[in-house]
């Protein structure tokens, strides 16, 4: 196994087994207990845990500090980094900071626009973009160089990921865009939540046609619906989210109190279907503020127990 880092996620993926990741959102306070509790709730059912970085542009406890809390619990966090709030100096600095705590995974993102968050009047940075952040971390790790060209005596040991949204427009650019992220240095991909499985399979066909599935590990994004209201909201109000009408009909067809259970069942069925899709290397289960359901989804989808990695 040609391992580049000490990342547990990298080891699982390169062992050829389906990986499972999940995510936890940090609190809007300085108390770490919540994030530690969430992490411990799911630690036996996942290989790594993403920590979101001020998601939807709402100010929260920082991703880096939350990752440190999980690392101190012996978990394998994935540091999500958005380029919205930090320039190249701060990004490189935080990568070194994370690596100094033994954080071995990073997910490079653009970040939601600040107009969605609690400080819509904020300046945004966007000094570099997510693609260039991938390049930056790879350069720091593989060449031992800062963007300036200066040497890094002890380079950061990071397994580098990026996001992909097969459902955003224009669809024709979504496979080329993945190719571009791979060329930039992405080693794993976590996708947007998949509800339109047919469209996802069409995208994966394009991915395989170019042999991209052999160059990157694709983790399919899964978010269980808690209610028909959530499904309708995602369909109507979240750009780049593709929720088919049939899914809304299916949730509408069950009593309100049973919709959450139906949502879990749909998530499990989606995983089972996607396990058969060549090129899917694992699952990224994002149960937003519903972390306690992750173990159930993972178990029912036949992804438990997780591999033991030394």
């Amino acid at each position: 196994m040609d391992l580049k880092t000490n990342s547990r996620l990298e080891k699982v993926l390169k062992s050829g087994q389906l990986a499972v990741t999940s995510e936890c959102g940090p609190p809007r306070s300085s108390a770490p207990e919540g994030i530690i509790k969430k992490g411990n709730l799911i630690k036996n059912h996942v290989d790594a845990i993403n920590i979101t970085d001020n998601q939807t542009s709402v100010t929260r406890l920082c991703s880096l500090a939350a990752c440190v809390h999980l690392k101190l619990q012996g978990l394998d966090p994935v540091l999500q980094m958005v380029v919205r709030d930090r320039n190249r100096i701060a990004l490189q600095s935080d990568i070194l900071g994370a690596a100094s705590f033994g954080i071995n995974n990073v997910l490079c993102l653009s970040g939601d626009h600040q107009s969605f968050g609690d400080n819509p009047q904020a300046q945004n940075v966007f000094d570099i973009d997510s693609m260039q952040l991938v390049q930056t971390v790879r350069r720091m790790r593989d060449e031992g160089r800062f963007l300036s060209g200066d040497e890094i005596k002890v380079p950061p040991n990071m397994f580098v990921g990026a996001a992909a949204n097969p459902f955003a427009d224009p669809f024709k650019i979504r496979v080329p865009r993945l190719a571009k992220k791979i060329a930039a240095g992405a080693e794993f991909i976590q996708t947007q939540c998949i509800y339109n499985v047919d469209k996802f399979e069409l995208w994966m066909q394009g991915v395989r046609d170019r042999g991209l599935h052999d160059k990157v590990f694709i983790l399919a994004g899964i978010t269980p619906m808690r209610s028909v209201g959530m499904a309708k909201y995602l369909r109507k109000s979240v750009p780049g989210m593709d929720v088919p009408e049939e899914l809304i009909k299916r949730l509408s067809g069950v009593e309100k109190e049973k919709q959450a259970a139906e949502g879990i069942t749909i998530a499990v069925e989606t995983i089972q279907r996607l396990k058969e899709v060549k090129g899917v290397a694992g699952f990224h289960v994002m149960a937003i503020e519903w972390e306690e359901k992750v173990p159930e989804i993972v178990e029912r989808a036949g992804l438990f127990p997780r591999p033991v990695i030394d």
């Binding site: 939601d112 997510s130 949204n165 427009d169 080329p176 571009k180």
Partner: protein, 220 residues
């Protein structure tokens, strides 16, 4: 051209009401095209301020005037006397013109009547849209003639992000996704393969980030 929008009358009034004399001063080029700061608009704004002064029972002598451009010395020749008589100037120019007046007349208070909003074009009568942020390092040759710096809300050099939907940006259905436009243009030009080229990191030292910019034409 430079696009500006007039500030609310109340805000303007609060700035100027303490003066006994005020020259409302138009700039008849860029901001005249967008019907906000030309000599005609200076006349209208002066009338509104006179009415406001009457309502508020404030004694203030308001005259209106204007020149072709408030950002070059030669155009000020015609208003030399007026400026020497003025106690304060309300400039309807962009921020450049306001500062030019402030620099040229050290002891004369000058106030902005406009908010300078962007560098843009006229896509239809009375409809102006931003097209450039003067970043100092033009990338239009790479992006099919569509600017990602001024037109992508995240100024992505490698877009589109995951929020592009039906040709529109995630932040508003009123905003076209710049990267949808770039992809469409590259395709129309038969250059879609160029999409996969990753440009070098942008040099923002040529932008505002590098401090105030200037240049001199050799031999002039």
């Amino acid at each position: 051209m430079i696009v500006g929008e007039q500030k609310p009358l109340e805000e303007i009034w609060e700035m100027v009401k303490r003066h006994k004399q005020l020259t409302v001063f138009g700039c008849n080029t860029c901001v005249a095209v967008c019907h906000q700061g030309g000599n005609k608009e200076a006349g209208i704004l002066a009338s509104l301020l006179r009415m406001k002064a009457t309502q508020e029972e404030v004694d203030i002598d308001i005259v209106d005037s204007g020149i072709e451009r408030q950002c070059e010395h030669e155009f000020f020749e015609s208003v030399r006397d007026l400026m020497s008589r003025s106690e304060a100037v309300l400039s309807l120019a962009c921020g450049i013109g306001v500062q030019f007046v402030a620099t040229k007349y050290q002891a004369l208070p000058v106030y902005p009547a406009l908010n300078t909003t962007f560098l843009g074009d006229v896509i239809a009568v009375g409809h102006f849209t931003e097209k450039c942020q003067a970043c100092g390092d033009c990338v239009l040759g790479l992006t099919g003639g569509v600017c990602p710096v001024s037109r992508c809300c995240k100024r992505l050099m490698n877009g589109p992000c995951g929020g592009s939907s039906n040709g529109k940006c995630e932040i508003s259905k009123e905003i076209d996704c710049a990267w949808q436009l770039i992809v469409d243009r590259l395709e129309a030009l038969g250059r879609l393969d160029d999409y996969e080229k990753i440009p070098p990191l942008k040099d923002w030292s040529k932008d505002r980030a590098g401090g105030p910019r200037s240049f001199k034409v050799e031999g002039m």
